[in-house]
């Protein structure tokens, strides 16, 4: 086994570390603490947070990549170990090989037979054209009629294990958190549901394809799950990438005013006046050309796909940079008129110190709100970009690619609905959770939207 750190993996773990440090630092600030407390004091917030954390957790597990070592070649003496060119992640291992059970082609959820006929030779040697049975579905079944009772009986044990596991986890949390002010029970219920579902899915997928298979016979559920990493990383990294630019330029423009302000305003007006989709398309193509011209930089295919993915994050970040920059500039202008900045001037505090101690900390809420608001927008944008053809590399699982590949499947009679539904469901859940959560965060942090009667 050889661990692989893809660019996006590195960035996302960097982001996690940064976030942890950030919250550790903020912990001391009582005002921020009360605001977070406000977010978490709602049950909805707890549930949404738990769902988001589940997705993030999966994304992180799916970001721990490694290459499997190949067995030593027979009859050869070599100390060198060689590795598979397929990159595997810890998440792949945890799903119990869900992604390795390929069928021939389409099959419906929980189906026992393929969705398409095939010429086969029966025992009498006659050529028959019929729906062939699936390789990895209902193998223990004697009679196809018992399918549902079989599914039911196979669900019992994993559900039990799931309950046990969640019971343990929740028990530990209960010990520490029972005295807290927050509605943890809402989170616990969600956690229990998530854990039970996860255990059930992993175990039942050994016997059935829960969401069927796609054209190439790959498990749709597994693909949808792989989409999680792409979605979550895109949603966070794009913002992460643009933050430094937007904050630096916005703050300098708002604080120093004058020609700096003019230049920054010119920059973002120019950028935002270009139709976004054209800018993104052009940049993605640009990077694709770079990758094509330098194939030697990427030793395995996954790295190439990953490079394009990181580039897409960059591009989305840069193109959406202007909105945040404008907000930050306006807020900086406002803050620099406030008494405490004036007072700092009167005390002769240096510019750097004013910026770092007085202005930046008071912009954090804007950055935070942008971060959570942009998340869902970016996840949704990915699907559209894939449709236009400038999205994620097709070899990397993503909901956008799934939707793009599957939109014609509906026109088939009978329609193939599961690929689309799988992508839709997983995407909808995270976007919904993120939207709900961002609503709460905004209510708590944005003084403008805090409405008196709203939370009554």
């Amino acid at each position: 086994m050889k661990p692989i750190l893809l660019w996006s993996d590195g960035l996302v773990f960097l982001l996690v570390i940064a976030l942890v440090l950030f919250f550790y630092k903020l912990r001391e600030d009582p005002q921020t603490r009360t605001r977070w407390a406000q977010v978490f004091s709602s049950k909805l917030g707890m549930v949404a947070f738990t769902v988001i954390m589940t997705y993030v957790g999966i994304a992180l597990l799916d970001s721990l990549h490694f290459r499997r070592a190949l067995d030593a070649p027979e009859g050869m003496q070599t100390n060198e170990v060689f590795y598979d060119n397929k990159v595997t992640s810890v998440f792949d291992v945890l799903t119990g090989g869900m992604g390795e059970r390929f069928e021939r082609t389409y099959s419906a959820p929980f189906a026992l037979i393929s969705f398409e006929k095939k010429n086969t030779v029966d025992e009498q040697g006659n050529s028959v054209r019929d729906f062939p049975p699936l390789k990895y579905a209902g193998l223990d079944l004697a009679d196809p009629g018992d399918k549902w009772s079989d599914i039911l009986s196979k669900s019992m044990a994993p559900l039990g294990w799931g309950l046990l596991l969640s019971g343990l986890l929740i028990g530990v949390q209960w010990l520490f958190l029972r005295r807290g002010l927050f509605p943890w029970h809402a989170s616990w219920v969600t956690q229990a549901i998530v854990i039970c579902t996860a255990v059930w899915l992993v175990s039942i997928s050994k016997h059935y394809h829960v969401l069927g298979t796609d054209k190439g016979g790959a498990d749709v559920l597994f693909q949808s799950l792989k989409g999680i990493r792409t979605g979550v990383l895109l949603g966070t990294l794009a913002t992460l990438v643009m933050l430094p630019i937007a904050v630096t330029l916005g703050v300098t423009a708002g604080y120093f005013k004058g020609w700096v302000d003019d230049v920054v305003q010119y920059l973002y007006t120019t950028l935002s006046s270009i139709p976004g989709i054209l800018l993104i398309a052009a940049s993605v193509l640009l990077f694709q050309v770079y990758i094509d011209l330098n194939p030697d930089f990427f030793s395995i295919g996954m790295e190439k796909a990953d490079a394009r993915f990181v580039a897409l994050c960059f591009i989305l970040g840069v193109t959406s940079w202007s909105t945040l920059c404008r907000l930050i500039r306006a807020e900086t202008l406002k803050i620099s008129q406030l008494g405490y900045v004036q007072a700092a001037h009167a005390f002769g505090v240096s510019h750097t110190r004013i910026l770092s101690r007085h202005i930046l900390p008071n912009l954090v809420h804007i950055i935070l709100i942008t971060f959570v608001l942009d998340f869902s927008a970016l996840v949704l944008a990915e699907a559209v970009l894939s449709y236009i053809g400038v999205g994620i590399d097709p070899s990397m699982g993503s909901w956008g690619n799934m939707i793009n590949g599957a939109r014609a499947e509906l026109s088939r009679e009978p329609a193939i609905w599961w690929t689309l539904s799988g992508a839709f469901f997983f995407m909808f859940v995270i976007v919904l959770a993120a939207n709900l959560f961002s609503d709460l965060v905004r209510d708590a942090f944005d003084p403008r939207t805090r409405l008196g009667g709203d939370d009554a």
Binding site: L338, Y340, Q342, A346, F347, H358, A456
Partner: protein
């Protein structure tokens, strides 16, 4: 309109009666109003006095059933003209509001709909409750405008609120309230947002209308001067209860409660003055001008200047207080900022101990920053909410390089906090945990931390309640005696001048129209503007 409300049965004509009113927070059932009762009589002004948070505004809103969703009425009754308002359906209640009971609010600027003309807004009330329409409606509105003293009432009909001055806006509010000849008028801090000279006029208007129309008025205010000026009866509210109730005369001459006394003491005493002590000039301001350019046209050329400060000269001596008095927009704060070198000076010069303050670089300015400090008006915005009090106070020590170690700074912070009557443990707290008065003390401590010789106090007490205001002013004086600092005291409120200032300058439209010793200005004003300002200062010894 012939209104038969002229009922001269005197004191017995009770228009509204509030009985054991209780209001709670919806979520926590915490009582905001703890069972209060009073009644309003025709032709009388009943003043409900209290500081912010005492529940006086909630009382008035509860009476109108206009409480926000976060508050609810839990007990009591409000009767108006014999009808229990709390038993009416919401639809019926709408007929009472504006028709029987009308209300005017504190800030007319925001209380008027910004996108409707003032005429329309007054007409709307009439449309709701009377049969007047079209030209007769308009005529009635113009009539009302005339009555409340709006000049050129006919053309003002089509003005938007922002095109009128603050005083006129409040007059429009009054016209709107009186449009349907209500029996009861509730005035919630009607003059707080106005400059003193205007305040006087509006109060006179209310008083006059009360008499002529035999209104029953509930006047809600925190300003004892206002009470003294117009009210017939007064009730003091404290933490949701009425702690004292008496006629105005009785109240001012013989207050029963300690709290009431404190409120009354806050009124200025124009008999005692500080006398000039030192002649050694610390700060000289010579013909200082601050101009803001007005740009126009395609190329944004500067066509003219707003002359915010237009040739001001003054001198402040050591350990002396110079009060700069003027109404909002007179340029007094800009002058303060110019002295601090936070604003560029277009002409003249500022000299501190003979050294020119303007036109020097940021680093050259540093030694002077130690000597000149500032206290701002709003204590909440002048403290970074993300720093602790300790950090806020020590910031100046660090940046101005006092050369102290961390522990020395801590010790100094602690002693400063104690000096401003706070405890040293405050240094670990955050600004939002402190009250306005405490914050202003912190601001004083922060200014003192670098051992300045001059502190520019920009309206340091205008955001504070009266009882706290006195404490802060006392503290400032004490410190002056102790450390020998000088103050440039910028204020709109002439009433605090006698307790504080040695010198007074009156500023109007960027110019000082009159200056002299405190006694001279307050007892023998020369300039008509000073006279007008002085006339509107409420005094205890009136009558």
């Amino acid at each position: 309109m012939n209104q038969p409300t002229m009922n001269n049965s005197g004191a017995s004509d009770i228009r509204m009666r509030v009985n054991d009113l209780e209001v709670c927070l919806t979520g926590s059932n915490e009582k905001i109003i703890k069972g209060i009762s009073f009644e309003l009589q025709a032709g009388k002004i009943f003043a409900l006095v209290g500081e912010s948070g005492s529940g006086k505004s909630v009382t008035s809103m509860a009476a109108m059933r206009l409480l926000p969703d976060a508050l609810k009425i839990t007990a009591g009754a409000v009767e108006a003209m014999g009808v229990d308002l709390f038993n009416l359906s919401e639809a019926r209640m709408q007929e009472v509001r504006g028709r029987k009971v009308a209300m005017i609010f504190q800030n007319a600027m925001t209380a008027l709909n910004p996108v409707q003309t003032v005429g329309q807004q007054v007409a709307e009330t009439l449309k709701l409750h009377t049969a007047l329409r079209n030209s007769s409606l308009r005529a009635r509105v113009v009539e009302l405008f005339t009555e409340v003293g709006i000049p050129e009432p006919d053309s003002r009909f089509n003005f938007y609120p922002h095109e009128l001055s603050g005083g006129q806006q409040q007059r429009i509010m009054i016209a709107m309230a009186l449009a349907c000849e209500p029996e009861v008028l509730i005035a919630d801090e009607p003059t707080t947002a106005l400059d003193v000279t205007i305040q006087e006029q509006v109060l006179d208007l209310i008083q006059e209308l009360t008499r002529t129309r035999q209104l029953a008025v509930l006047l809600i205010t925190h300003d004892m001067g206002v009470v003294r000026h117009v009210a017939d009866e007064v009730a003091v509210m404290y933490h949701g209860e009425i702690i004292e109730r008496a006629s105005v005369h009785e109240f001012f001459h013989n207050p029963q409660q300690e709290y009431s006394k404190r409120l009354i003491d806050a009124l200025p005493d124009l008999s005692k003055f500080h006398h000039e002590r030192s002649q050694e000039p610390l700060l000289t301001v010579e013909g200082v001008k601050v101009h803001f350019p007005i740009r126009q046209g395609v190329l944004q050329r500067v066509v003219d200047y707003t002359r915010a400060v237009d040739g001001v000269s003054l001198t402040i001596g050591r350990a002396e207080t110079y009060a700069l008095v003027g109404e909002s927009g007179s340029g007094k704060s800009t002058l303060g900022r110019a002295i601090l070198n936070l604003e560029e000076i277009a002409g003249g010069e500022v000299r501190f101990k003979g050294q020119a303050v303007q036109g020097i670089s940021r680093s050259e300015m540093l030694p002077l920053r130690k000597k000149i400090q500032v206290i701002f008006q709003n204590p909440f915005s002048s403290m970074n909410p993300r720093l602790t009090i300790g950090e806020i106070i020590s910031e100046g020590m660090i940046s101005l390089g006092l050369g102290l170690t961390a522990s020395e700074r801590e010790a100094k912070t602690a002693s400063l906090l104690e000096r401003v009557q706070l405890t040293s443990e405050f240094s670990r707290r955050y600004p939002h945990e402190l009250s306005g008065g405490q914050l202003q003390r912190v601001a004083i401590a922060r200014a003192l931390a670098v051992e300045p010789e001059l502190i520019i106090c920009d309206e340091p007490t205008s955001a504070l309640d009266v009882s706290i205001r006195a404490e802060v002013l006392d503290l400032l004086q004490e410190l002056q005696r102790e450390f020998g600092v000088s103050y440039l005291f910028i204020t709109h409120d002439l009433s605090i001048v006698p307790t504080l200032a040695h010198h007074v300058g009156v500023m109007q439209s960027g110019k000082i129209v009159e200056q002299g010793s405190a006694e001279q200005i307050l007892t023998n004003p020369q300039h008509p503007y000073t006279k007008a300002l002085l006339a509107s200062v409420p005094r205890v010894d009136e009558d």
